[in-house]
Symmetry: C2
Subunit: 315 residues, 2 copies
């Protein structure tokens, strides 16, 4: 299989490594850069070990062997080297706005006018670091979900300046590498993923604070109930299948839903006694020194789930 174009990754942490592995799995040449040069070397070693491990477990993505994928990922010693010849740049530096502003300004000065510039940020709307750039129409957010190698969703968030052409190209690239892009046409705080996470957390918090249910039980409402369906179908399709179609669902439940929602009362700050109770319960279940083990367990489940989904995705 021929290799495809070159992709530049800025920042060599976990997310940068995941992106590199995803792009290489689909035969793109990937170059990694980090302001700390030593980190690039470490990242390349980690990636090599991970890809070999995935291969031995038959979990490697893509149609080319691990050795070939590893050979597609190299390091760069400067920003100009990493973007040289790259048609797409994925920024993965720390979540600090001043850093993003600096990285994108630096990129703006050296990239070609056709290069797609994507940020992995989960919280900063792209205009916050792109509005002053001459290439601002080429900048968007491409926000993955942890762990990106096994969870396909990518939020593509447009700024008011992002061109449709750039968005379409980023979307096509994500599909080509086996991710599932969704497009946010407007900047909203928290994008879609975190907005949905937050409304869930808030109602769970109120139910605990009001003595309705325990911390453990509300997590089970999701993991042993709702979440099992959500692994395959979104909230609208869930409703569509739970009634005689969506219109029937609206006809039957729209009034009742509004009544229930209007009964919930205002948002609350996650602090004080209830927050402490939640933190204590979670730490009791998974002590901080066991977090890594539990993340490994979560990822093993996600791997098995992604195999189920792939097998049954014919429809």
């Amino acid at each position: 299989m021929e290799t495809k174009g070159k992709i530049a990754i800025i920042g060599s942490g976990l997310i940068g490594q995941s992106w590199a592995m995803i792009f290489a799995s689909a035969s793109y040449r990937v170059q990694l850069f980090d302001v700390v040069q030593e980190n690039v070397k470490k990242a390349l070693e980690t990636i090599e070990a991970k890809l070999n491990d995935l291969s031995s477990k038959k979990l490697l993505r893509g149609n080319i062997p691990a050795a070939k994928q590893i050979s597609l990922i190299t390091g760069a010693s400067s920003l100009s080297e990493v973007v040289e010849g790259a048609f797409y740049v994925q920024e993965c530096v720390f979540e600090r706005l001043d850093l993003k502003v600096k990285v994108f300004a630096d990129l703006d000065a050296i990239v070609s006018p056709s290069t797609i510039l994507a940020s992995s940020t989960s919280c900063f709307p792209p205009s916050k670091f792109s509005s002053e750039l001459k290439n601002r129409s080429n900048v968007l957010v491409a926000h993955p979900v942890n762990p990106p190698y096994f969870v396909p969703l990518i939020e593509l968030v447009k700024s008011p300046y992002t061109s449709d052409e750039i968005t379409d190209k980023a979307r096509a690239l994500m599909i080509d590498v086996g991710q599932k892009p969704v497009v946010l046409n407007k900047e909203v705080q928290g994008f879609a993923v975190n907005r949905i996470q937050y409304v869930i957390l808030m109602e769970c918090y109120r139910l605990i604070a009001d003595g309705v249910i325990s911390v453990e039980d509300i997590d089970a409402v999701m993991s042993e109930g709702l979440g099992m369906r959500y692994a395959f179908i979104g909230p609208w399709e869930t409703a569509h299948l739970n009634a005689n179609g969506m219109q029937d669902y609206f006809d039957k439940y729209a009034d009742g839903i509004l009544r229930v929602l209007d009964d919930m009362g205002p948002n609350r700050k996650f602090e004080g006694e209830t927050a402490k109770k939640i933190a204590d319960q979670l730490t009791k279940k998974i002590p901080l020194d066991k977090l890594r083990d539990r993340i490994k367990w979560r990822d093993e489940n996600l791997i098995a789930l992604s195999q189920v989904k792939r097998r049954n995705s014919s429809q």
Copy 2:
């Protein structure tokens, strides 16, 4: 294996059938009653076919063969016959409050003072049909999630009158039959499952109505992103693993979360142009005459997922 006590099921529709199969899988004797006598016969035939089918696909629950499970489920021709000797009654009649009130009043007149009386209702707080009963301390809601044979969650909802002893017994029964009970100590509209479904639907609705994202893409945010994790871990554990523990998550994000949530604006009624757009998109994806096929596909996925979860549940 010895059979255990007797359980009465009132109402022989899909939910009644599911409960019968779940209880029989754990060696309980089950008797089914329906006001339409003919429905009992049909339900028993359907159950027999389903259990044989599950058995042939190696998906049968429990440790006893299908033939034995089938023999544990019989029909009753009257309410007094079905509750005779039953230690637990599971009501599964239509979701109409007047019906529930009548059924529970009828039960109240004939059951022994130790019988647990559970309703499958998804919407009526138990006090609405139990407050006038002499056995009101024995009444609670045991609300399953579709499809109950493969989704373990059961919401046990107490009325102000439900005794702790009855709740504990219902909880122990649910665990014994392989479901996952959670306890709601107070009556709240929508219980926990629907409250969480509704906050999700509302934010998805606003994002569509405001032109941020398409109907299809917001469903993918869940099914290709958040929902994959929620199939294994609840919202709090998700947060615990996404930071250096829950307290770290609160310290880092509590202010930001409140800011995002307070930005969302009021609840809206699901009606008009946006509701039509959602219904149209869902009907385009899954026409009404294909709903059954898609439900079958969903359930096949849930079966595969429940096998993954069982295999990896060691922790």
